[in-house]
């Protein structure tokens, strides 16, 4: 009995001390005359910000390798990326020209819209079947009909460049870390940072190094989208069955043959999952990339919302969703594609699709010379629902604003403000100690030390108050996202039809750029923490739902049978058997929800919050490299602490359930 109770005493005591200190930190500071309790002394602050900015200036302006400067090197890299990008872009949108600016003479037009649709349709058929070809073709047709074609092709061009680069780069790094233990150990913290440092934080240095225009946007996209590919590659190679290794050895493979002829082909289906992730993340970056010159659909969304043309913003946003759907299904189909038997016969017989596509391309090119509508989708035939969206928002605004206001005030008074006060009051020295204790309790002294040091870094950068606002906003949002998401996930797992609807809803929410709903949310809830919270909840809902559904679905049916046999009601079945068994999965979902919430907080700075996200955004608008990187690292550290703690919790709960040793 006592053994069971002791952990609770620890957590209760920790909470009580934290609460007391948070409540009375101010009187304490007055009583002891120790201002350092509530505010980190300026004199002790690390001058890191200045150092980083100075280092950056040095890199850009004077670093040299003797024969060429560092800047020459990065500009050379940009040129390497720009050449294929220009080629693809010319092929899809601009057409091929000679000469510069308006002196240019068109040599050949870009691919016609019909040709592009034919290509993607053929790819889909090649990967799977007719149904997929129709779906993908319809998605692209949507882009043409809704007048998004040109922007969509610009976006597609950047995806077509960033995805192969991210995938190949990720594959190479993944193989290296599979081969060399030390490389993996060195790479892992880098990957953690790449995934958790908000993109805004490193946009400025990238602009300085790679110049203005689409290349910088591509580089940022690749950095953001590559880490999952690296991780998946390593895991995929590690999980190749040992028998396959043995076969490779028996047939006398060299190391290189072993890798490229045996391991990589066997791991291909898993690797394709990684490629799929790279595609989805690249599309997530579309809006942010357009802030630094990528153009395309992201720019349309931003521009439309700046003139409050909500309808146009929604349409461009949905175009991104549609493109994501098409590319997602296509890449998934490639991941599970079964190789058919080789067809024998003449060239045309062996490549019916290749030949058809070439015929369509050439045909529309020739016909396009006489019938422009075949080359470029006619403007007159486009459809817009813009008015409908703007009208809908106005109607809701006029009729339901007071209801929304009442809900908002309730949440603010009973949930958000008390939590804000609690976190805001915690003195930084106690914060360092408390996180150290939590880490130690859950994962041993190493984790404790890691948590304490990272927390100290945040305090020592003078960002403690903003970090606490971040924790508060993120905490409240994660709580609400879990309260909504877990029941939805449970429902989705138990009822197939509900599962289908919820799945579609969640997919849309995740690929729809958050900017699209950020502005209507502001119209209905005003600038403030509540609007930010809603945007974060909408974005971070997905993993809570998915992992809950996954956890429930993957429960051993024997367990449920056992429950039924021993006479559980449906309710008991859920609460006593399903949920406890799904706990590790729920915790993983929690982990992902926290990560997404943190990444979204940076976007909500665009609404107006006073957290680390705002700090990162200010640094971006002032082009201050040091400030951006320090604030970005602070966000990353919060994410890493949360990740490690939740992972430790998940491990403990697995041990308790005896699922894994």
């Amino acid at each position: 009995m006592t053994a069971l109770r002791r952990p609770y005493i620890f957590w209760l005591a920790l909470f009580a001390v934290t609460w007391a200190l948070s409540r009375w930190s101010f009187p304490l500071y007055k009583a002891l005359d120790a201002r350092w309790i509530i505010k980190f002394p300026k004199a002790w602050e690390l001058p890191l910000e200045g150092w980083i900015s100075a280092a950056m200036a040095w890199l850009v302006e004077s670093a040299t390798f003797g024969l060429f400067t560092f800047r020459d090197l990065t500009r050379f890299i940009s040129a390497l990326i720009e050449a294929p990008y220009d080629l693809v872009r010319n092929l899809l949108v601009d057409g091929f020209q000679t000469g510069l600016g308006q002196n240019a003479v068109e040599v050949a037009p870009s691919l016609s819209w019909i040709a592009v649709i034919a290509v993607v349709g053929a790819l889909a058929y090649y990967a799977k079947d007719w149904k997929l070809a129709v779906l993908v073709g319809a998605c692209f047709l949507y882009l043409a009909i809704f007048g998004q074609w040109e922007s969509a092709m610009v976006t597609l061009a950047s995806v077509l460049i960033s995805v192969p680069m991210g995938a190949v780069g990720g594959l190479a790094l993944g193989i290296l870390s599979y081969r060399y233990q030390w490389f993996e150990r060195a790479l892992r913290p880098m990957l953690d940072l790449m995934q958790t440092v908000p993109v805004f934080a490193y946009l400025v240095p990238i602009l300085f190094l790679f110049g203005f225009g689409p290349v910088s946007a591509l580089v940022a996209t690749i950095i953001y989208a590559m880490p999952p590919m690296v991780r998946i590659t390593t895991v995929a190679l590690q999980t190749v069955p040992p028998e396959v290794h043995d076969v490779g050895k028996m047939t006398g493979c060299t190391r290189r043959q072993m890798m490229w002829k045996v391991l990589v082909p066997v791991a291909t289906p898993t690797l394709m999952v990684g490629v799929n992730q790279v595609i989805m993340l690249s599309l997530n970056m579309v809006i942010i990339a357009s802030m630094i010159g990528a153009g395309g659909l992201g720019f349309d969304v931003l521009g439309a919302l700046r003139r409050l043309d909500i309808g146009a913003g929604v349409e461009a946003g949905l175009a991104i969703v549609v493109m994501a759907v098409a590319l997602d299904r296509l890449s998934q189909a490639f991941a599970v594609r079964e190789r058919g038997h080789a067809i024998t016969g003449g060239f045309v017989k062996r490549h019916p699709w290749g030949v058809t596509v070439v015929l369509v391309i050439v045909g529309t090119f020739l016909a396009g010379q006489f019938l422009p509508a075949l080359q470029t989708y006619p403007d007159g035939a486009t459809v817009t629902t813009s008015r409908f969206w703007s009208g809908a928002i106005e109607w809701i605004n006029v009729n339901f604003f007071d209801t929304f206001e009442a809900i908002k005030v309730f949440f603010l008074n009973w949930l958000m403000l008390p939590v804000k006060r609690f976190f805001g009051g915690i003195p930084w020295p106690w914060g360092v100690v408390a996180l150290g204790l939590i880490g130690w309790r859950l994962g041993g002294w190493r984790l404790g030390l890691l948590c304490a040091v990272m927390t100290l870094f945040i305090a020592a950068s003078g960002l403690w108050p903003k970090a606490m606002v971040t924790v508060y906003l993120c905490g409240v949002s994660v709580l609400i996202a879990s309260v909504i998401g877990i029941p939805l996930g449970v429902l989705a797992a138990q009822n197939e039809r509900a599962g289908g609807i919820i799945g579609g809803f969640i997919d849309t929410l995740q690929t729809l750029p958050s900017f699209v709903y950020l502005i209507p949310v502001v119209m209905l809830f005003r600038v403030g923490d509540f609007s930010a919270m809603i945007a974060v909840v909408l974005y971070a809902l997905a993993p809570a739902v998915r992992y809950a559904a996954h956890g429930i679905r993957s429960i051993d049916p024997g367990m449920i049978e056992a429950g039924k046999v021993s006479g559980c009601t449906r309710r008991q079945l859920l609460w006593r058997i399903k949920l406890p068994l799904a706990a590790p999965s729920l915790l993983l979902g929690l982990n992902q929800t926290i990560m997404l919430a943190l990444s979204m907080l940076v976007i909500t700075a665009l609404v107006g919050t006073r957290d680390l996200g705002q700090e990162v955004y200010i640094a971006l608008t002032k082009a201050n490299t040091g400030q951006g990187i320090i604030a970005g690292l602070s966000v990353a550290f919060i994410a890493i602490i949360a990740d490690r703690i939740v992972t430790a919790l998940a491990r403990k709960s697995k041990e308790r359930l005896g699922l894994e040793a």
Partner: protein, 312 residues
């Protein structure tokens, strides 16, 4: 066939740069574009005028402040709108390096001030005077700010000293900062649809003052002394006890522009347009749904005498 075509196109592009290198270079002049309509219009007008004079023009999308890094190195060449009110600091820093030069005023005046919709005059008689506004601060209160009125300020990065102003003038308002100007005007649109009370930061030239009927609040007039010297103004102990300064919108360019394209540099310096013309152009695009290209073409056709003069 397509492949050879592409190859020859790539080759031709690579060679064209060298072939035209004359006194006035045929290299494209890179004008930066940002994400607000007024700036797109200004830049497009400049671009069309330069193109008319035979220069090669390219539009490059860049961030408002971050672009200075590109202007310093010559990656970018011309930025058409640097607002005295929001861009002065970055502009001074850049021109101090000698690599960026100020190309003079655009002719447009930036106005930034507290602004209210016209229907508030019924609820709050005495507007636009700031004292009258202060007397009915309660009308502007929301549950979060009550009993104080709520004033929606611009993003913190815009500066503007609104927190200081409220303090110095002892106004019963709380300043809430929007994160971006999209958020700022989203609130205005929402309040206007409901005819609800609002007072917020609006700037001109912008589409909002033409779309929505309303006025700027009248504060004690701005003077540099008022901002720097606490004793000046109605509050003897505080600075910022007055309205905001208005100021020109500047053009800047990479210092190499004048050497490489002397004629173009002259045209850029000559560029001039009025607030009213710009307000009309912006309204045509944002409110009447014209494309930037069409609106600019219409203006160029109607004002040929004025822009022909810039290149002389």
């Amino acid at each position: 066939m397509t492949k050879t075509l592409m190859m020859s196109a790539a080759l031709a592009t690579a060679m064209a740069g060298g072939a035209f290198a004359q006194a006035e270079s045929q290299d494209p002049i890179k004008l930066t574009t940002h994400d607000w309509t007024g700036q797109l219009v200004t830049t497009r007008i400049m671009g069309e005028v330069l193109a008319d004079a035979g220069y090669n023009v390219e539009y490059v999308q860049a961030d408002y402040i971050a672009q200075f890094a590109g202007l310093k190195t010559g990656d970018l060449h011309v930025a058409m709108e640097i607002w005295e009110t929001t861009g002065r600091e970055a502009m001074d820093e850049a021109t101090a390096t000698g690599n960026v030069v100020n190309m003079g005023e655009t002719g447009m005046e930036a106005i930034e001030e507290w602004w209210y919709p016209a229907y508030m005059e019924d609820k709050c008689p005495g507007l636009p005077d700031w004292k009258a506004l202060n007397d009915c601060a309660a009308e502007f209160a929301t549950p979060e700010t009550a009993p104080l009125g709520r004033y929606l300020g611009g993003p913190v990065t815009w500066g503007g000293f609104d927190d200081e102003r409220v303090e110095a003038l002892e106004m019963d308002f709380e300043v809430v900062h929007a994160g971006t100007d999209a958020a700022l005007f989203a609130e205005l649109e929402s309040a206007y649809q409901r005819q609800a009370p609002i007072v917020l930061w609006v700037y001109a030239p912008h589409w909002a003052p033409s779309k929505f009927d309303g006025k700027f609040v009248e504060f004690p007039p701005y003077s540099p002394e008022c901002y720097n010297d606490p004793s000046v103004g109605m509050n003897p102990n505080a600075a910022y006890d007055c309205g905001k300064p208005t100021g020109p919108i500047w053009k800047v360019a990479w210092s190499g522009v004048a050497e490489k394209w002397p004629g173009a540099a002259k045209a850029i310096e000559g560029f001039n347009i009025s607030n009213d013309d710009m307000g009309q152009l912006v309204a045509n695009v944002d409110l009447n749904g014209m494309s930037v290209e069409d609106a600019v073409a219409e203006w160029l056709a109607a004002n040929e005498s004025s822009w022909k003069g810039w290149t002389q």
